[in-house]
Structure formats: C-alpha cells, structure tokens
Symmetry: C2
Subunit: 338 residues, 2 copies
DNA sequence: ATAGGTGATGTAAACGTTTACATTGCATAA
DNA sequence: TTATGCAATGTAAACGTTTACATCACCTAT
C-alpha cells in the first residue's frame, strides 16, 4: 500500500499537477478543489517524497556542516547556532566531523556535493584550508567559519581572536604585570596564530620586552597546559602572569599550580581564552575571553542564505565577531572566594 | 556546462548503463571499458548526483538524529559517537534539536520521513515520547536513545541510570553516611526518574530511613543546584552527604558550599552524575558516575543498521550500557589537594 | 553449419515530484 | 452568434540515476 501523489490525485479526482499545486499553495486552485485534495491528503496520511521533489526543484533544503575535531562546548554551541538559524529558513543540517584528516575531508566534500546539499559551512582551522578549497566545486555555495583563509574569495565568519588576546594581555599589563608569558596553541592552528599575534602586539605596544623564553608551546589540551606549567615553575626567573591561548590549557596550568601550592593570582596571575562553562566554577574562577560561538554559527547561515538567494556567487564577504574580556578572580580583579 | 552521467557516457562511447555499472563496480564490465570510462569521469570531474541516485535506489545514506536540548558534553559526545559509526557505514547524519517542543518534534518527523533519511535516532527523555511515536510512520526504522519507552516495540539504547545511582548511593553509605539527601531532576525526565529510583532502592536495601525532606527538586541546571543547596544549608538537621542527579547541579551545590564556607567532604560529602570534564578540575574534584555517551551513540547506529539490513521490522531490542562510579575527592575517598 | 550458451553492452522504464504548455469551459463583448 | 479572454485544470516532459530485459557478437559443442 504505497501512497504517492498519484494515489492522492486519483482519490481526489484531480491530476497530480493539481495536487502539487495545492501542496505548494499555488494561488490558482479553487477553494473547493483545495479542500477536497487536502482532505484526501489527510486521509491517506500522505507525505511528499522529499527526494522526488528535490530532483526536479534542484533544492534539498539541506546545509552541510564540516568540522574538525573541536572541544565540546565549541562544537555544541556552533551546531546549535547553525541549526537554529537553518530551521528558521526551513533547512536541516548534515553534520560531519573530519578529524582534520585530509582524506576524510576530501571524501566528505565529494559526498556533500553532487546535489546533496544546497550549501556548505566549513570550519578548517588548520593551514591546509587550501587543500579543501581545491576540492570545492566552483558552483557550490560555501561559508567558512573561523578558518585560515588568506585572500581567497569565499565568504567567511570569524571571531576576533587577535583583538581578544590583545585586550586580555593589555588587561594583565594594567594589573601591573611586566613579565607575561603566553601558552600558545599549535603552530598551524589559525586561532592560535591570531591569539599569539595579539599577545605580541599588546606586549610591544605597551613598551614591554619580548621574552622568547616566555613563549610556550601547547596544543590546546588540558594536559599540554599542565605540562607547560610544570616547565614554567622550574624556571629561575618566572613570569608573574600567564596568558593561555585557550581555557583547557589554562585549567591544566591551574591544576599544576594547585599541586605545587602556587597561589593564583597572588604569585602568578592567569587568564584564558574561550570562556568555557567551567571557567566560572574553578577556584579561583578563571578570567577569560568570551567568544560568541552561537552567533558565529548563526551568522554563517545568514551569509549562506544571502549567497543562496542572490544570483551571483559569493563575493567573499568577511565578517568578524567581537570578543569580550571577562574579568574574574584569576587575574586579580576580584578577591578570591574561599 | 553541466556534466551528468550522459555526458560521460557519450564521451566514453558507451551507454549510461555501462557508466553506472562502472560507478557501482559491477563485475561484468571489461577492464578496457572500465579504464576508458574512469578516465572520462576523471577528465570531466564527474560526481554522481546523489538525489538522482537516491530516487531509484530508495536509499539516501542519511540517518536523522533528533535530540532535545541537552548539555554540551552530552550533545557533542553523542553526535561524535553517532557520526563515527555512521561514517563507517558510509552514512551521514542530519542533526536537529527539538528543544522538546511538541510542534517542533512533529514537523521534524514529517520532514525527516518521506524518503529523506533511511533511519532515525531519537532521544526523547521526556514522558511525551508517546506523542513522538504517534507521528512515526510505521515503515520507518527507528532507534531510541536514553528515552522513556515503556514496552513499545522499538529498538532502544540506554545507560544504566538506575544502577549508577544505586551504586553511588551505596558508596556514600560505605563511607558511613546515614543521612543522604538527593537532588532530583525534573519529574518528567526519564534519566531523573531512574536515578531517583536507584537512590530510593539503595537507601531502602541498606536499611536506612527514607527522609522526605532530603528529596530536593532541581532541573539539571547549575543554578537549581545552587539554590537547592542554599536551602539545605538552612535546614536545622542537615544531611551529611548529597547525591546530585547530575554534575551541573553538583557544581552549583559546590559553589553554594564554597560561599558558605562548608568543607567538602568534611562537613558534607558530595557526589554527582555524568562525569563531565569539569568534574576532574573543580576543588575538591567531584566524585561522579561515568556515562558512556560516545558508546551509546555508536550502539544506536549499529542497532539501526541491523534493523536496516534485516528484512523484518525492529523487534524492539533493548540495550543497556553500564555506568561506572568514579571516586574522587568530594566523597571522601581521596585526600583533598590544597 | 547450426543451435545454444555466454559475456558484454545497450535500451528504456521506473523512481516521485514540478511545471511549461495545452486544453477546457465559461463569461463577456462585439 | 461568434470571437476573445481568462480561470481552472490536465498532460506530459523533465530532473539523473539504476536495472530488468533485450540485443549482439562470438565461442563451443554437436
């Protein structure tokens, strides 16, 4: 007992064309006919076949979302933002995580194209974004999110990594710190690069010396933050403040300091980036740079729709969302609760 | 300059059927022909049109995932597990969050069915699951995840909420506690119910009195944990231990105790549920019940594929994944680091 | 030499819609 | 009365594949 548009048409004594017109609320159908068709649709519990429809309209109402591995708050917030905005346009999203694996990215793009989605949102924080672009069919609509994209004419939405880092470091300087270390992220990570750039400029613009020893390398994980901090604590002349390129590393650093009985911020002040939920609940609470992830997802979708509706291809519109320094206990702004 | 299978066929001097056979690696094609076709495919950069294919094969290689609002670690872990398993079968996933809104669920189901996906994974922790089931087309393949599902003949994968709570409470009892409070989740939440049931049975089986005053109501948010704890601290005769139905509430409770200078676990011991990442980093670190979220997603997909491959409809196979008590500082197992 | 078999390829229908165009019936104007 | 126009509906092609079936060439056994 299959029931397609044909069955509905027959039962309602009209042609499939008319049923289709009712379905797409075309104006030209008589009230009477419309009522009859609707009744039959209801009776047969008819559901339009999305694939059949997509084949002819060349529209799937689907957006593909390609992400690298990403920590959980970021991931869920981004998806939430994207989904929310997509739903408002009556779209759904196909999500896939690439683990930043080249072969995986490639296969993903192949699958996603070929009519399966109307547009693509890609996050590619590593420098291999050029690889990605190479596999992009020229007619596909794409918006990049928080990606390394030098000059390529694609739409993109990013957060102000540079500015956030700059302001945070400047804030530490306002506290009187002159020896500020940075815990960097992976070299090839775009966010990490930008945040480092912000640190460097803030240090320079405020007349402090750049101390190469204080530029530590991490990889955005809690462990790497812990390890790096242990290293710092072995230094003869220690920094008085540490700016971590993300909160996970800051939490790791904090753990190391707890273990070694270092008082934060008394002996060493600490600041992170991302403002993850835990930042509020650790002791001392973690000063961090808030990042509008949800909004970024939302904006990405809006950009995509502009591109989808306009005839002309994406004109490479870039958008940068502001970040915000959240002052808590670990930088010394608020007395530490005990 | 469109290029479909026809263009490939023409250029390679074969019929579309042969191209299709090459594409689907059918055995019967000559080596020579295959090579020629493959060459043309490469030259034209031909990509099979997924929709055209789906229309005739009646297969989209897509799994729909419908989730309520869910906290971020849970969300991302679950998606990760589902995506990983799906990719192994060459499937992609369509994700949508319903915010537990009835109308939204309904429209979601309608959209998702009608040939758009091959199967559905649904998480519906609230009691209104029956509403969901009502809108399920009988031929759609579905696996429920962590859902309230009394007896309905659907496949489902859940975690052992009851057992985890039971063991955790029993563990607190082993520490010598006799006055153990519980911070419950919303009444209509399935997880919350089960965890409460575990608490109740553990208390009873160990010969302790049920103290109604100690059964506090929360809603799984950090704030509700904080508020409830403030209430507890005003009680004349306080509990000596508190079991929170999830970690967010436990973190809230912890914050309240910090503010009021209550020593944990010295004065009041604390335990949570979910084992979120922050549990490791708060002070004191939080004893909690670990939940295999990733695995749950993976298992859900595997169940779905069994159902997809088998001719017969889902036989209502249920699977329950074990939970694990993780002992840290907040229950008194480990000395608290300072 | 011929029938029958086999292996490779081609032909065309089918999947479930939408939509350009054709048709119909009817009202209105000349 | 007949042309004209218009509103409502129908007809059938199209979207891009897959696949059952037909065809064809060639080989083998009789």
């Amino acid at each position: 007992m299959k029931n397609g548009i044909k069955e509905v048409a027959k039962k309602a004594n009209v042609s499939t064309a008319t049923v289709s017109r009712v379905l797409n609320s075309s104006e030209v159908v008589t009230e009477e006919t419309k009522r009859r068709v609707l009744a039959v649709i209801d009776e047969l519990n008819y559901m339009p076949h999305a694939i059949g429809r997509a084949l002819v309209t060349r529209q799937t109402n689907l957006i593909g979302v390609i992400l690298p591995d990403v920590h959980s708050e970021f991931f869920s917030e981004l998806i939430r933002g994207i989904d929310k905005a997509a739903r408002q346009h009556n779209y759904h999203i196909i999500v896939s995580s690439t683990h930043s694996d080249k072969r995986e990215i490639e296969s993903m793009l192949t699958v996603m194209q070929g009519g399966r989605v109307d547009g693509l949102i890609i996050m590619s924080p590593h420098i291999d974004t050029e690889e990605v672009i190479k596999h992009l069919s020229p007619l596909s609509r794409v918006v990049f999110v928080n990606s390394y994209l030098n000059g390529a004419s694609f739409d993109s939405v990013t957060i102000d990594n540079y500015g956030g880092a700059y302001q945070m470091v400047e804030h530490l300087i306002e506290h009187g710190h002159k020896r500020i270390a940075i815990l960097k992220g992976e070299e090839r990570n775009y966010d990490a690069q930008e945040r480092f750039r912000g640190y460097l400029d803030a240090v320079k613009d405020n007349g402090l010396d750049r101390i190469k020893n204080f530029e530590l390398l991490g990889d955005f994980t809690e462990e790497s933050g812990y390890d790096a901090m242990i290293g710092v604590l072995r230094m003869k002349s220690k920094p008085t403040a540490i700016f971590c390129s993300n909160d996970s590393m800051a939490l790791g650093a904090l753990r190391a300091m707890h273990e070694k009985d270092i008082i934060v911020p008394g002996e060493i002040a600490l600041a992170g980036f991302d403002d993850v939920p835990s930042a509020r609940y650790v002791l001392p609470s973690l000063t961090s740079v808030h990042v509008p992830i949800f909004e970024m997802g939302k904006e990405a979708v809006e950009h995509l729709f502009v591109s989808l509706e306009g005839k002309n291809g994406g004109e490479g519109k870039k958008m940068m969302l502001p970040t915000l320094v959240i002052k808590r206990e670990s930088c010394g702004c608020t007395p530490v609760a005990t």
